[in-house]
Point group: D2
Chain length 491, copies 4
């Protein structure tokens, strides 16, 4: 059983791109000590030998180091991006070529992604990442499918679930009656496969040992699947490792938010009024970064605990609609929809900058803006649009309402992705090492692995850890070597 | 059955003290909106009618507002402090007199505490807080004991457990072979009661519905009791409410650490090298406060995750022994023992300031310092000692190694104690409302109550909360009115 | 010619006070490396031998180290405070006793100051600091007066000028027609001397070599005297040494503002809205301190440059009257009058805290508050008054509107005063070494001395200075050993 | 007399570039309220009518707004860049085309600059900016030269001085015996003109009314010329306006340093050890930015006052050579030479990032690095080189040791350049309005103009200034409308 060969191919033969990407990957390796340590620790045993991983995650330089780490541990990998704008083409090209390949003789990993995909292309490329027919052919096998999914936002995992359900219970497949643009493209790809290769989804789904999921949003979707009884395999929630949620979400955003604003707009942040919607980990990182650049930051929250934290951290906590007229820079960090509506956009200061670092582009109601009579879009440069509003003012919208740190800059920096991706690799190893250990459901990594991830990143920063004496460990009732905290500890 | 009347009495008839205390209580009420809201909400129903609470918690102005809130909700209360230095005498006096009493006709709550108790006095005063014989006499009852304990550090709860065990299994009562000063005093008080009133401990213990515990250390002790199967009643762990651990521990310390340093020493913090042992919530608050005053802060950690957080927050992470010679201000925030040893004290800069905001005075090895040949203590003023060391240098030790924010200043400010104490009152109400709901063990408050505590403190800070639309709530899969986060969420 | 012996004496014979003060002085010496270095450098030559200094400056522990440094360099000194609340009685007592004296045989410096003087007492005590008749008697001289003034706020210098003018041109002496309370007391003291010792003022003024002045306000007054042609001797403006204005004013306030708020009110600063009037050096330190404690800080300014700085530093810049209803903590740092008026006090949040760290008590219009019908003052504790307002709200006024860091806490910490006072001592040495070098007028210290002050404070903080190579110095066109910057450089 | 037509032309006919530049200029105008206000205020009177300005300043989008403001006020302008890497080609193209021109019919300003000039090209392009022969031809004049210079780093002013001296006193022209690369190129251009057009330099120099100079370094060079008696015309030192040195140097760097690091390297700043050489205004901005991103910042200083400031601001102050082995990111901000030497480069951590935001590329001894045996340069991308060192480590050098914020990012953001450039325009107006008012020498703008610059930037940030009452102004002895501070005030 093979996946239909898609007519869309990836960039392979661009010598300049691949070489530039290889330089950057080499530099990034220096900044990803966790992944490099895993390569060193497990070089001999190759614990992922036999693993076939379909990955769906922003195809950046850092992801290149992740992919090549998975390969170094023995896995076979196929990859697509989870975002139409976030691919760094030179990273994709370099991964395809491979560290030892050449553009004419690539020996790397098939990557199906480029910067600036259409929505249609996006789903077709995900389809290709699931199509292991070439590997089957090379192995002389009838059919080979992936046995692990490495996911970001859960699109890949959901795709298999939707397709399998459509094969098995077509009358209750969740096919929307009035699909939006995104859903149309998704179902077009599902339908293509259903038509070309009946049974493919069911077979592929049956072969999956588990998924490791990167984000809050993805975990949320998969937990929902589990709650309604439809989840088909175990999921490891990488997002909720402390070394992911408290690092990537917070410190990554602290870096990549101003980076995206700077590259997108070149506008001074200092002295401006910045409004951050949401004071979770992402919002905390955003607020800290903006304050660190001299902005006056106002925060909104729905959760009284986070709201109280924001106040205690010295931020004004207000409703967006009450202060919109003072706002120069508006950032969404909620993971919810319709957080910035057209009335808010109309109320902002002239030339206000509007960007999203939460998750989907519906945090800012882009659809309503596009439908607003009299609104006109002027492209300033890629991923930067001036929207001229009917009231005579304009706003600058970054990355069409999608993640601005990925669209306008290069995403989170390597070091912080190293903590996240070391969790990912450990999760893949955990799933693959003992396929039966985990029940169907959403699990977190054990605290020992979480602490291991941190530990692998300390030397690079010159951190010297204090060691407990055994008397001190006894007094605290913890092992000398950890773990040190109860499960509910909040860091 | 009555507890032996102790010869130690509390301050009642000091008019000036009580009046000064009443002024401060009135001002503190303005800063404790959570407690005042509970008084307003439950004034009519008096949900603690019938509760008899023995409290053991720093007898400060804020605690006065807590005590009077418990009384307003219907409870009878007896109180002692959990620390020999932390009592504010004017607060104690005012509580004894009561809001409507006079020094000659006190109608408040019996409080057994003063600033600067000896260790012997400490345990005898705790004994008096457990002695409800006066109340029994007034009620014409044979015997009345407490039915609830409100604890800080678990001394009160442990005291009943130890005594009851000593009555019931004297051969395995945990009586230490070579007791320290503290243990001698504790067992002296137990033995006094065992001798005077056989059976008192067993009876008192049988009457307890539950304990609410304030601190990390106390929870740790009680969880240990539970693990070894000796815990006798349910405990509500107030410490691990988000609105306690992430507020009191962090923002409270951020305020009261520099306050204690300033009142104790008047030494400029700016420009100094400050070393903070431990980067948990308390350490985070300490480091933020010291940096906010312009110190260069170095942190030590045993936990790689917290260590990585410290590094990402811009702090040097080192071992104390490696940098002691640069340190001007040394603060312990670990909850562990022997964190500052004599060799470290000898290695510090001349005139370094040494203080503890963790928990017990063994974080700094005071016993070894006192035993050090050639070391000499010069009292600068109460709670500030210059220790002249045999190497010719000296260190300034605050509060004899006990909690400096309580010993040298007035503890956490009212507002932050309001979040903690609102949790305490809710925990007491939760225990008393349904004595059978909770199994023996250590429990946390449900997230709805945690969010309620936060909610009751927003108006006072001018925070305006954003409200979810039902579409947004559906999208996030949470109720519009909360709770908003999964249990494992870390804030 | 002698000054009339005033009946007011200072505290001498309080053994406990003097001993406590001596301990604190000893500790402060450790924190005042600049002064101690001057003692070491000039111990042999005693450059102030023959100097007779009348000082008028807050009589704190730090001032004690200053006074004893002047004495160590050879000077004779008499002292009073420049503020009715700022004296630390134990410091005064210790200085009077002297390092080697005893309460029964004091051999220190006459100090005329105590905490909580009346306004009448204030001016009489200043009179006593000018009265060198005892020294004259001991020296067997007819008359001895001071030859140097060390001033803070210029009261001492102005006092001699006013008195001398009143003797010489009584019809144009500047005697106010409707004197306020302050002016009545000042002129009462002048008149007493005019009556008892005709000619005393003229004689004393003639003997003065110069004044060194500590503050912005004092320099301002003296520059005005100079501009109208009445200044009688050279003044060295210590305030405008970089190591004074940029250190004491900024870093001193950063420390002592929260210290004063904490000791005065015990109110949590975090989460509150704090308003700082003025964003000069003092205001910058205030805003930084409050932000460092988690307050949200709003600033007002009249100067567009400072206003723009505040905005670029991330602060909201608003008019007080526009936001008074949100303000929890209101601090004046302007040096101007009527900055906080009664309408503002009435508009503040209930229980708002109001304090002044600028200079005189007219920054907050206390006179109008006292005259407000229906306003009632409730003394909470010394230097903390709750003013109940006719609109049913109340405000907490610190130190009766005078400098709260001195009234509610202990003023600036030693280290920062060491930079200021090292400038003072260098200024006194500069004036005394070459009485004719300086024309009548207001001068600043040369940059080499300013850099010297800084240099004397580096070792204590572990700072290691980089040294220019001569090639580098040539390239920059500066001497290897400094000074390094042009006069107009702003640091 | 005409300047020889250089064979080097500027980009004119690139439609896409010019259009992209025009969009960016339009957005920048919104961020440059000071310049736009000057256009509005002086649109009618055209105070620069008759001015012919040769400008030498980074040819960025912001400079485009500056140039078009000068034109709007009536000036004729010719322009080159003062840095080989800092030109933004689209800005240059748009200025050449002009707001109303087309690529085929440009009607803008001749700009001679592109990103990535060689050193030879650099000086020839400066020559072209001085060559007004086209304008002469169009005007039917024999000869036209500039009458004003707008300079950054003083290259343009020095060029005319050197050339004129070479014409007039060839035997003492300062021609170096062993010229470096830079000097060879400079003298090649001078010699070309000397050969082609004898007397041109003398004539051109005679026509200059004055120079306005942008930078510390440039002012330093011109003050040196003045000191040795060779300066030929008045200079207005724009750099030392408060609204320049305290804004551009500090807040501009705070923005553009992390921007340059991010675009150049994508490396996480958080958690890293960053070393900043120099704690002047530029160093202060750099240190604040790096701390705001979570780096641990160490500072070096030669000036004890700045060193003490750094310590009081919480930074470690050390010598670079003592801590080089811990440093991840090394930034020079001194304006001096040889601050980073080869031994330091060899001592840094592997893969350390090295960049300059001071001024010339000799702050980092690039010449010595290039000459180091065994060192190898690997170009990662334009303006980012990995230098592999003979010790097996490597360092990443940004912008070949030149200003990284200009080479790797787009320089300072518009708003902060608006404060600088408003000073520039005011300086040009001041020189042109009264050619004889200023003596030969280096002058600063009067404080009223400095305050005006600030005032013109407040509305855009929502700042509301407080106004003095006349009673308050009298009390302070300042005019109600300012200026408010004495000349020596340091802000």
């Amino acid at each position: 059983m093979t996946h239909p060969a898609a007519p869309i191919d990836h960039q392979v033969r661009d010598l300049g791109l691949a070489e530039a990407g290889r330089h950057q990957i080499r530099l990034a390796e220096h900044e990803m000590p966790g992944l490099m340590a895993l390569r060193r620790r497990h070089a001999a045993e190759r614990p992922l030998q036999g693993a076939r991983i379909t990955g769906s995650l922003h195809m950046t330089v850092q992801t290149a180091v992740l992919i090549e780490t998975l390969v170094a541990l023995g896995a076979q990998v196929r990859w697509s991006s989870c975002n139409i704008f976030s691919t760094q083409d030179e990273a994709a090209a370099a991964v395809v070529v491979g560290p030892d390949g050449t553009p004419d003789d690539p020996c790397g990993v098939p990557v199906f992604a480029w910067k600036g995909e259409t929505v249609d292309e996006y789903w077709r490329l995900l389809g290709r990442a699931f199509d292991w027919s070439g590997e089957a052919a090379r192995a002389g096998a009838d059919w080979i499918g992936p046995n692990l999914i490495l996911d970001d936002g859960a699109d890949a995992t959901a795709f298999l679930h939707l397709g399998a359900r459509a094969e098995q219970v077509p009358e209750d497949a969740g096919r929307p009656e009035r699909p939006g643009v995104e859903e149309q493209a998704l179902w077009a790809e599902i339908d293509r496969i259903l038509a070309d290769r009946p049974g493919w989804f069911t077979g592929a789904a049956a072969g999956i040992i588990g998924t490791s999921e990167e984000t809050t949003t993805g975990v949320h979707r998969l937990a929902h699947l589990d709650r309604i009884g439809r989840l088909r395999w175990p999921v490891i929630d990488v997002n909720d490792s402390v070394t992911k949620s408290k690092f990537d979400n917070r410190y990554g955003i602290r870096h990549s938010l101003p980076d995206g604003l700077d590259r997108g707009t070149d506008v001074l942040i200092g002295g401006k009024v910045a409004f951050v919607c949401g004071y979770g980990d992402v919002g905390k990182g955003a607020a800290e970064a903006l304050r660190g650049q001299g902005a006056r930051v106002i925060v909104s929250e729905i959760d009284p605990i986070c709201a109280l934290q924001a106040a205690m951290d010295g931020f004004q906590v207000a409703r967006l609609e009450d202060v919109a007229g003072e706002v120069d820079i508006l950032i969404t960090a909620t993971g919810d929809r319709d957080v910035v509506t057209v009335p808010v956009l109309l109320a902002l200061k002239d030339h206000a900058i509007v960007g999203n670092i939460g998750h989907f582009d519906n945090e800012i109601d882009m659809a309503a803006l596009e439908a607003l009579p009299g609104a006109e879009r002027v492209r300033i440069k890629p991923q930067v649009d001036e929207w001229r509003l009917p009231n005579g003012r304009s706003v600058l919208v970054l990355s069409e309402g999608r993640l601005l740190n990925l669209g306008n800059a290069t995403g989170h920096p390597s070091f912080v992705m190293s903590t996240s991706f070391t969790n990912q690799v450990l999760a893949q190893m955990e799933l693959f090492a003992a396929p039966d250990r985990h029940a169907v459901g959403v699990h977190r990594l054990p605290k020992t692995l979480d602490e291991l991830v941190a530990r692998l990143h300390l030397d690079a920063l010159g951190v010297r850890l204090t060691e407990l004496t055994s008397a001190q460990a006894d007094y605290l009732d913890v092992p000398v070597e950890g773990p040190y905290k109860p499960e509910h500890y909040r860091y």
